[in-house]
């Protein structure tokens, strides 16, 4: 996320620095041009124009139209013979020492232009902050990954415990995450009653988030009481319950889309924050809060599973339901608690994910697949496995962007899911037993 923010800011800065077109562009002529500047390297941090850079403009057939050289203001301009397809190529050898294109692959850019129009071509200079030093980059991505992993873990613990105690793979768990994020959004935009009663209230996100967690916990409990406990009582098979959960997943997802629309939103609080530089990595205050807060929550959950009566009962039911039941544990009560806690954690995860990224109708479903990867990696049904596996998946997703394009980073996580099933299907922390 940080990386994306940084890239976004760089792109905006580059775009702003390139907008004024050099004089001489007359109406009616078809022209291409731009300004080549090095970003923020002047004595007062201003942009410095780069002179003497050669840019070759060729037409669709590959014939050179003109080789332009940037002037002392870094500007260049080429008059084109007419509309059509052209490409521009920046000669990287003519850049001064120590200055390079942000992305060397983008030295050649092609574009289409209509007769009589003017086209700006952007050549952002200077490295991405993160490419200065690969160690720093790895540390930064690892920190980002830990943050993502903690959010995945928070959502996934419920998924894993539900599987452990009931055997159900709950495909609708992602929608509980989306539900949490959206409810918090409605609270913070429209106040306590979601705009149904009264007018223009708003609520600070922190209060909204607290209410959301209560509400999603209750929703998890209600979901269990209305649907799943009934299905268990009538002896539905696990596969038919799995299909039911998929049905609910589609239904809720498209209800969210229906109500919320397809566009993504952000919370009004904690939107833009300056990053704090820690040397090896930098973070915004909200990200620091998220990491610390998630760590506290996850630690509490871990301790509760280890120390409290109900936590021990949960682990006992996960381990062997019949044995737990015959030693006097109220299994239905344990399952109820798991659903409530799982719902609350999923809602909390949704709010946190909404703070660092965006809120959209499909966010939960995307996260669900990462949760599956994490839970399977750690060992399906084990709470610590979910925690551990999710952290690895989060770090893996972020660091994999060193090698693969960022828009495909989730593919890496899903490949890991397939690989782990191939070599160690019980997961890293799972007990070796026959699961086929």
């Amino acid at each position: 996320m940080l990386r994306r923010c940084a890239a976004f800011i760089l792109v905006v800065a580059a775009a702003l620095s390139l907008t004024p077109l050099p004089a001489g562009a007359q109406d009616g002529e078809t022209t291409v041009g731009g300004t080549v500047r090095e970003r923020g390297t002047g004595p007062d941090g201003e942009d410095v124009p780069v002179a003497g850079v050669e840019i070759t403009v060729t037409d669709a057939a590959g014939a050179t139209i003109e080789v332009a050289t940037t002037d002392e203001n870094g500007e260049w301009l080429v008059v084109l013979p007419g509309g059509g397809e052209y490409s521009t190529s920046l000669d990287q050898g003519t850049l001064p020492d120590g200055v390079s294109l942000r992305n060397a692959d983008n030295a050649v850019l092609s574009f289409e232009i209509n007769e009589g129009r003017t086209r700006n071509v952007l050549y952002p200079l200077g490295e991405l902050i993160l490419e200065e030093d690969s160690t720093i980059q790895i540390v930064q991505l690892t920190v980002d990954g830990i943050k993502l992993g903690m959010i995945i873990a928070m959502c996934a613990i419920g998924l894993s415990l539900i599987f452990g105690t009931t055997g159900l793979v709950n495909f609708a768990h992602g929608e509980m995450v989306t539900f949490g994020a959206m409810v918090a959004y409605i609270f913070s935009e429209y106040g306590l009653f979601g705009g149904l009663i009264g007018g223009d209230w708003q609520m600070h996100l922190i209060f909204g988030a607290i209410l959301t967690v209560l509400l999603t916990g209750a929703a998890g409990g209600a979901f269990n009481a209305i649907v799943w406990s009934k299905l268990r009582k009538r002896g539905s098979s696990l596969i038919s319950m799995l299909v039911v959960s998929i049905g609910f997943s589609i239904m809720f997802r498209y209800i969210f889309l229906f109500q919320f629309g397809g566009r993504v939103r952000r919370y009004r609080d904690y939107q833009l924050q300056d990053t704090i530089d820690f040397g090896w990595f930098s973070m915004t205050p909200k990200d620091i809060f998220i990491v610390v807060f998630s760590a506290v929550v996850l630690l509490t959950v871990g301790l509760a599973l280890q120390r409290t009566r109900i936590g021990k009962a949960m682990r006992a039911v996960s381990d062997n339901r019949d044995l737990a039941e015959s030693s006097g544990i109220d299994v239905e009560k344990v399952i109820r608690t798991v659903w409530i806690a799982g719902g609350a954690l999923a809602g909390m995860g949704g709010v946190l994910f909404g703070i660092t990224e965006t809120i959209g109708w499909e966010m939960g479903f995307r996260l669900l697949l990462l949760m599956f990867a994490g839970v399977t990696l750690g060992g399906l049904g084990t709470a610590y496995g979910a925690l551990f596996g999710s952290l690895i998946v989060g770090v893996f997703i972020q660091t994999s962007t060193l090698v693969i394009p960022a828009d495909m980073k989730n593919v890496g996580a899903l490949l890991v899911l397939a690989l782990i099933l191939l070599v160690r299907p019980q997961g890293l922390l799972g007990r070796a037993e026959r699961i086929g």
Binding site: V169, L231, G235, V243, A373, L421
Partner: protein
């Protein structure tokens, strides 16, 4: 898997016990039938375009969507109905058919029919190997997780600008089936079959029917062969089949391949019919349309998926027509794009209701195979 509900105990105290109380399944069916009746009466006596409604419904019952999803559900029936495999990535097999054709024709300039072979045979086999090798030795839900994850991976990769040269990113490919339409015996600008289909559509639908019924024949024959009996044995009790010396893993793999190929035919026909292969035509949710068709018609029945797909699209087109009718739906309740979303909501509701109240589908029997069995 069987510790919660084994087939034997479910006959004593399982769903049968609920039947003694209020039969919600029957009540729901009654409400649905009453609603249907009200809609028909409304269509007859209001100034609604009754003929348009009828034509749309018929197109749903027997038209292109029926063929695409009938084939996809037929493949799923081999996976789930006969072998017990939980494949939630049938959309990817469909995409293999569609993209197999379009990529080899558009990018590699192959002839139409060799590309058809790649899309229907080679790619589904490769895909089945990729999906099956890690998961088929494991419990059924692992295949479910991996297939649904693969469907998402496909979406990410197919839309990525990085692979624009191969997949055409989010715009996909178009105009790769000209050779197919050259063979059409129908006049492109004429309407056929009670004016339901125009020429090219008629050609797609005709070829689709032939393929669909040929595949029904293949499934019917195979499932009565010794090979098919082994599949059913694996579905009923994998350990028993294994102890009789059958290599369950290979049989499951073959079933995954065969069902995948039939699904790929559906996807390919869809790509041919629309002359486009686009990622959004093969998103994860497409799989669930095939699942609803399968469960609706009856899991493990040869004709189940075909009848299910026909009913499903008949119903969808019927309700869509009402939802798009400005007089029927109060103003401001939903707009055009939201009607498409309501369709997905209804699919979700339908899946839940079917799985809970009528797991054997409309025509299936509990003795043969119901969703509830395992």
């Amino acid at each position: 898997m069987t510790d919660i509900a084994s087939p034997i105990s479910s006959e004593d105290d399982g769903p049968a016990a609920v039947d003694k109380g209020i039969n919600w399944g029957r009540i729901g069916l009654g409400i649905a039938a009453a609603l249907f009746l009200v809609m028909v009466v409304y269509a007859t006596f209001s100034d609604m375009d009754g003929q348009g409604l009828l034509e749309n419904t018929l197109r749903g019952l027997f038209g292109e969507q029926f063929i695409y999803f009938g084939l996809a559900a037929l493949g799923l029936n081999i996976h789930f109905g006969y072998t017990g495999l939980l494949n939630f990535g049938q959309a990817v097999f469909m995409a293999a058919g569609a993209y197999g054709l379009s990529i080899f024709v558009v990018v590699y300039d192959w002839s139409f029919f060799s590309a058809v072979f790649m899309g229907v045979v080679v790619l589904p086999i490769v895909l089945a190997l990729l999906l099956g090798v890690p998961t088929l030795r494991l419990r059924a839900d692992y295949l479910a997780i991996v297939t649904i994850a693969t469907a998402e991976m496909f979406r990410i990769i197919a839309r990525s600008p990085r692979f624009d040269w191969l997949t055409g990113s989010s715009d996909g490919h178009g105009e790769f089936a000209d050779r197919f339409y050259e063979l059409s015996p129908f006049e492109p600008d004429q309407r056929y079959l009670f004016d339901l289909f125009i020429g090219n559509q008629m050609w797609v639908v005709l070829v689709g029917w032939v393929v669909l019924f040929a595949m029904v024949g293949v499934v019917y024959t195979l499932m009565r062969s010794p090979w098919g009996r082994v599949l059913k044995a694996i579905r009923e009790d994998e350990d028993a089949a294994r102890s009789l010396g059958k290599n369950a893993y290979f049989y499951k793999m073959q079933a995954l391949m065969l069902g995948g190929m039939i699904g790929a035919m559906g996807g390919m026909l869809r790509a041919i019919g629309t002359q486009s292969a686009q990622p959004q035509n093969f998103i994860t949710d497409v799989t669930f349309f095939a699942w609803v068709a399968l469960i609706l018609g009856g899991v493990g029945k040869t004709w189940g998926p075909v009848i299910g797909a026909s009913l499903l699209y008949g119903l969808i087109n019927f309700t869509d027509f009402f939802l798009r009718d400005q007089d029927f739906v109060p103003e401001g309740l939903m707009d055009g794009t939201q009607v498409g979303q309501v369709r997905f909501i209804l699919i979700g509701v339908g899946l839940v209701l079917l799985a809970v109240f009528r797991p054997q589908g409309i025509f299936g029997s509990r003795e043969e195979m119901a969703l509830d069995d395992r």
